[in-house]
Symmetry: D5
């Protein structure tokens, strides 16, 4: 089941730089694991912003909730979740 | 170059049904041609709405403008364009 | 899988009254069939508005999309869809 | 009398973790007591958010006010209250 | 039980003047009956607008819904409903 | 002359509790004095919020400004001021 | 007593031109009478818009309401009313 | 050339009181100098708010920018700038 | 003196096509005359929208108002005007 | 390829002044280098605000992203990116 998730990150100017770099690295590993598993199907940077647009392919809402709230950078994110469907006119098999 | 385009359709209750069905069919053919060419890389329905989220892969802004304003249903759409980049952490070659 | 759907209805002052009454009756029958099937688990009126808050329990996003866009009064509605999860602290078995 | 209450929680990054865990536990017990009493009829998580949608069944506005402002996590919440009615088409007796 | 209701009226320029005057008169009679019954406790004009702020004292949400949707000018109104409580510091007995 | 004033209070989590309790007490006395004088004609709690809706009856804008900015809790408030008129259809003498 | 009133005009493309020109002329005469009386103290065009910012000096809210709703072009206006006070630091006697 | 400038002030609860009083006094002197020079033609308090509405008469945009950003309280302000024109119907010579 | 003007066009689906084409041609000639005179210094299309971003270099607000309201397509436009200054760090002489 | 970028700066009252002056100087040098290279084609101050409107001419979205996020003052900015096209009616060769 498909969802678009838009994640905007906001880091306070006073937050410890080293601690944030450490969290970013954990986030990256976490993300790539989910990408390999096929759960996190797509990710794109939003030009000019510390933000991304992502497509998730999960079994249900509960799984999506756990994936998102488990992200190391989740406390810094503003998140928007939009449920999607395969489009009936699409010719691509993998636009599921 | 990648762009997310969100299209919301609104059809006046008084608009001629047959004329709209004809436009929808033209739109579908138009869309599938662009999908085959690789320009319209992804399309998803927004659950519960007459709307879609799409990813375009075009040469430049001008090409995107011409594709969008050339759509048969363009006069019925509210459109939001968001420029995207390949994400540096992505492992997928085709998340370009 | 659970979704909250908020439906606001807006009927143009000039729309034919009899035709609208006919659509409302069809909608009511349609709704009660879905309620009996367990798909449309809850519905409440929003006080003072021609609007409702509903909880759907569906197999997936696609099923929800088809249910909503198939409603006879769908063309008069502004719709907001919010994916929900069972809450971990809930003691009620049927708050699924 | 029915009300929908939407609660969004926001916890400052600098807030003491242990103190917050303690408050969360008190909140959970508080919540389950209200759920058992039938006042807090439904609760659902909002997918991807530290937020819930709830349905309260209270005697009057004053009782709802006291329940909400008495929640241990109330100072962290943004709250939206929507008065609801039983829907005339509903077949379920407990959609009161 | 107390509610603030804000009503904004918008009449299309093309709506029949005589018909609207007739509706306004019915509305006025309707309103004064509710005012006499004590249900519609207060009403004030919003300066410079075709709008009012009102305080209702009703038995429950259902009664409020029926009063509002039964107003002859209801189809021309945008309505906002805010549940209120007696304020604990108030010295006035009738600020119930 | 009548004004509706909506006051929303927001107290930082880190603000000194005792100092705030002291300010609240001063505010209460201040408020009741104004209520007795007839300047602060009505006050209602907004259900579920640390907020009130009030009706002021003052000589002019300047007097309203001085009353509001002189409130001990003013620095914690977000305020909305709406000028009101007696409604021509009202039967109540004290809806002035 | 001073008020800022912002008036934005919107004329439907299909509205009869001659009738609108006639209304505009009546409005102008109406306005100049109010300006001469000192009630409509200032008026400025908003650059690039069919809109103005005005300062009224009236006896009370009721008078302002009657002046505004009596304007021939009132049905075409979106209006915002802001109560003002003389500023304590002002050196100009006529900034009352 | 005329501009409306709306200035809203927001002072953090933790900001040093004495330092702010000192800045306010400097602001007042600064303001009165500009008022005497005719650049700051009008100023009004917004009732109930720490805010003002002002009319500036400057040579050009650059001069307005320098006046505003040079105000001692500028770092506490949210500012909205609206370019204005003399209104063609105005009878007052000084509504320039 | 510099201004950014953002123009969004919205043409009703029922508006006469030929009449609109005629207006567009008049607009184009009108625009190019202003461009040649140096008043309309820059114009860009907003990708995917029937809209443009423009930079005007005019003598004062009044001239800008007359230029904009004199455009043949002005009645179809939503307009936003932002006064600009030459930037102090700019190395380009023509960024005036 | 052209983009409009709107940058609004917000500096916390408590941020170290000297450190900010140092960052501003680095920003200025950085900016002028980009201006000389032709990437940052235009920049204008927004009158009355610590903000600018800029036009970038870059090879693609990725280059724009790197330029913007590499700015020394980027952590203080709220940024809005709008893709632009050359306008078909423009007579200026350099409005590319």
């Amino acid at each position: 089941m498909l969802f678009m998730v838009e994640m905007d990150l906001s880091v306070p100017l006073t937050f410890d730089q080293k601690e944030f770099e450490r969290l970013k690295l954990t986030e990256k590993n976490h993300f790539q694991e989910l990408q390999r598993s096929g759960k996190w199907r797509h990710i794109w940077r939003v030009t000019g912003h510390y933000a991304n647009v992502s497509i998730f392919d999960v079994d249900n809402n509960a799984e999506l909730h756990d994936l998102l709230t488990g992200l190391p950078l989740y406390p810094f994110m503003t998140i928007k979740v939009t449920p999607l469907n395969r489009h009936p006119s699409s010719l691509h098999d993998d636009d599921r």
